[in-house]
């Protein structure tokens, strides 16, 4: 089995086109789709920070500093500011009551164009505090933490939600297809491809048992699927960073180790089931072309069906805070509660893979009869 896996990697290394279409192209396409996705949801994205303050010193500090040209100054919350905030022209509102030593930070996570704006607002507060201290004004200001008034995401209109659902569904569909299609090709090629090339018999004649052959192919294909998925997830994370601004990926991975382990294990077993079934199905074909056609249609149908429900039902907005580095971790990291279901699903998944693989072995043995 190890020899078969080694051979497959060597064979893959000699096929630059396959490497590009399996690993590189999906990443590029995902990045492009993310571009469309983000440009769609952020087309009206605000780019300004508004500072509301009654302090003449603060107003002067902002007005005189050229690096604060993107900061709008308001003496009070008025209709103009509210209108700009609702339209999305203003992304972050910073209310500073210097005398009362109060700072409030307000933003709408679904409208914000870049996490950098939040960072910038925080930096501005820090710089302002330093300025205050250096001028001997409001000395206790530096210790005051801003009160964050995050606007409830549910206030986004249903139309916007439907549009976002559609974008996310398309995006997830592309992800599934990008992983599924190359995986299906590898799985299909495992038997019918070797058979058509005339290499299956030479391997069998060398003493490789059918079970070893199929398991070697399954392990290789699942590994390819995992690598491809990992690359695409990395692309998504980098895409978020690129399109949304800075993101502390490391911090989130630390906090979501359980989630990562869950995803990897369930991903492995799901891929193994998929690959085992595809290899079994491939034994019914004589030509790679026929098998590949059905596999492509099947993958496409599965992709569309899996996303049809999401377009109308999913609560995409619940997950959007991820884009602003908020609470996906909390919502998905179930901690120890996930261990038992994970264990059960692994056992059941392994049993399914064993049964399907054995069916493939019996079918290939019957073909040699």
């Amino acid at each position: 089995m190890i020899n078969i896996i080694q051979r497959e990697w060597l064979r893959l290394s000699k096929q630059p086109k396959v490497i590009v279409t399996t690993f590189l192209m999906p990443c590029v396409l995902i990045f492009l789709v993310m571009g469309v996705f983000f440009s769609g949801i952020l087309e009206k994205a605000p780019q300004k920070i508004a500072v509301v303050t009654d302090s003449a010193e603060i107003k002067e500090f902002i007005a005189e500093n050229k690096s604060y040209q993107d900061i709008l100054i308001f003496g009070e919350r008025n209709e103009k500011l509210e209108a700009m905030y609702d339209k999305g022209e203003v992304a972050v509102v910073l209310e500073i009551e210097a005398e009362a030593k109060t700072t409030r930070l307000q933003y709408d996570s679904t409208k914000i164009s870049s996490a950098d704006l939040l960072v910038r607002a925080q930096e501005f507060i820090g710089e302002l505090a330093l300025f205050m201290q250096s001028e001997g004004l409001y000395e206790e200001f530096a210790d005051a933490q801003p009160e964050i008034l995050e606007k409830d995401v549910s206030s986004v209109t249903e139309r916007e939600e439907a549009r976002l659902n559609l974008y996310v569904s398309i995006f997830v569909a592309v992800l599934i297809f990008m992983v599924g299609q190359p995986l299906a090709s590898f799985a299909i090629d495992s038997y019918v491809g070797e058979r058509e090339r005339g290499t299956y018999d030479s391997i069998r004649l060398s003493g490789v048992e059918i079970f070893q052959f199929i398991m070697g192919k399954t392990v290789f294909t699942v590994t390819v699927g995992l690598i491809s998925s990992a690359l695409q997830i990395t692309t998504v994370l980098l895409g978020i960073q690129y399109f949304m601004g800075s993101m502390e990926v490391g911090h989130y991975l630390d906090n979501t180790m359980m989630m990562v382990i869950t995803i990897v294990l369930t991903g492995c077993i799901s891929l193994a089931i998929l690959v085992a079934v595809l290899i079994y199905l491939s034994t019914f074909f004589e030509k790679v072309r026929d098998a590949a056609t059905y596999a492509t249609i099947g993958t496409l149908a599965f992709t569309l069906l899996s996303q049809t429900g999401n377009v109308t039902d999913s609560k995409v907005l619940e997950y959007l805070p991820l884009l602003n580095m908020n609470q996906l971790v909390v919502r998905n990291a179930h901690g120890s509660a996930v261990i038992l279901p994970l264990f059960i699903s692994l056992v059941i998944g392994t049993a399914v893979v064993a049964v399907v693989t054995q069916s493939s072995v019996l079918r290939l043995k019957s073909k040699e009869m």
Binding site: N3, K14, R197, S202, I203, L205, S206, E368, M369
Partner: protein
């Protein structure tokens, strides 16, 4: 010693091989001669354990192909036009891969590889992809790879098909040298020159049935012919004209015999 007893193979509605009997002695070259579609390849595939017989048995050195397939696979080198090597690999990579599958240690693998690659002029191109080779080089590489484990029994199906005369001669000389080393060799072919150049004994198979077995002289004499070519034609004619068939299934070893069609 290879014994084939009452070997039959049925594919759906077609009977490819019907109760074939042959015996092949150790250290001899046995040629399985027959026209296209006679069932030679099916017989060879059953010999190599790639196909299970519908009826009958094959024993190779007392191993039963149906029960001891693993042992047999280790001890035969099988080459057929249907079996190919992966074109993306180089001969060196192919030798390493198949060597590992056969469980050869590094030293034995290198020795066997050097001997075969040198003989078949592969050494100079051992790092080029197999798919870039000419037909002759592909065939020579296939032979080298399928014999990388230095098996005691060589089973070649149409080994000289499509080869130029020089390559054909090289393959024939190789088989003769392997015979000198005590190997048992079975070659299926429809080319009479190959039979004449190589075979100690010949088995003739027509329409899935063994119709003659013996040395070349015995086959020629038995058919009442001048040479092998005429004998082959006469045997074919006799087989297809049942009224002239000599029915003698109990013919002694070496004697020419014919069986009636459909039996």
């Amino acid at each position: 010693m290879i014994r084939i007893n009452g070997l039959s193979k049925q594919f759906a509605e077609k009977t490819a091989v019907k109760r074939v009997d042959f015996e092949i002695n150790n250290g001899e070259i046995f040629a399985l001669l027959g026209p296209n579609g006679a069932g030679k390849t099916t017989t060879m595939r059953m010999l190599s354990t790639l196909l299970k017989p519908t009826a009958g048995s094959i024993f190779i050195n007392s191993w039963d192909t149906q029960k001891d397939a693993k042992e047999i696979k280790k001890n035969i080198g099988f080459l057929t036009t249907e079996i190919r090597l992966d074109g993306q690999f180089t001969p060196n990579e192919l030798a390493a891969f198949y060597g590992k599958l056969y469980g050869l240690n590094k030293k034995t693998l290198e020795e066997n590889k050097r001997k075969l690659f040198d003989y078949f002029d592969i050494t100079q191109i051992a790092d080029r992809r197999y798919e870039t080779f000419s037909t002759g080089m592909k065939q020579k590489t296939s032979i080298a790879i399928c014999l990388i484990h230095d098996p005691g029994t060589i089973i070649f199906d149409e080994p000289t098909n499509g080869l130029d005369i020089l390559t054909q001669k090289q393959v024939e000389d190789f088989l003769l040298s392997e015979k000198q080393r005590g190997k048992t060799i079975i070659v299926s072919t429809h080319i009479l020159e190959v039979v004449e150049a190589l075979a100690d004994r010949v088995g003739v198979i027509i329409d899935g049935q063994s119709v003659a077995e013996g040395t070349m002289d015995e086959i020629i004499k038995g058919a009442g012919a001048k040479d092998l070519r005429e004998a082959f034609i006469l045997l074919n004619e006799k087989y297809h004209k049942p009224e002239e068939v000599i029915e003698d299934k109990k013919a002694k070893k070496g004697q020419v015999f014919c069986v009636r069609r459909g039996i």
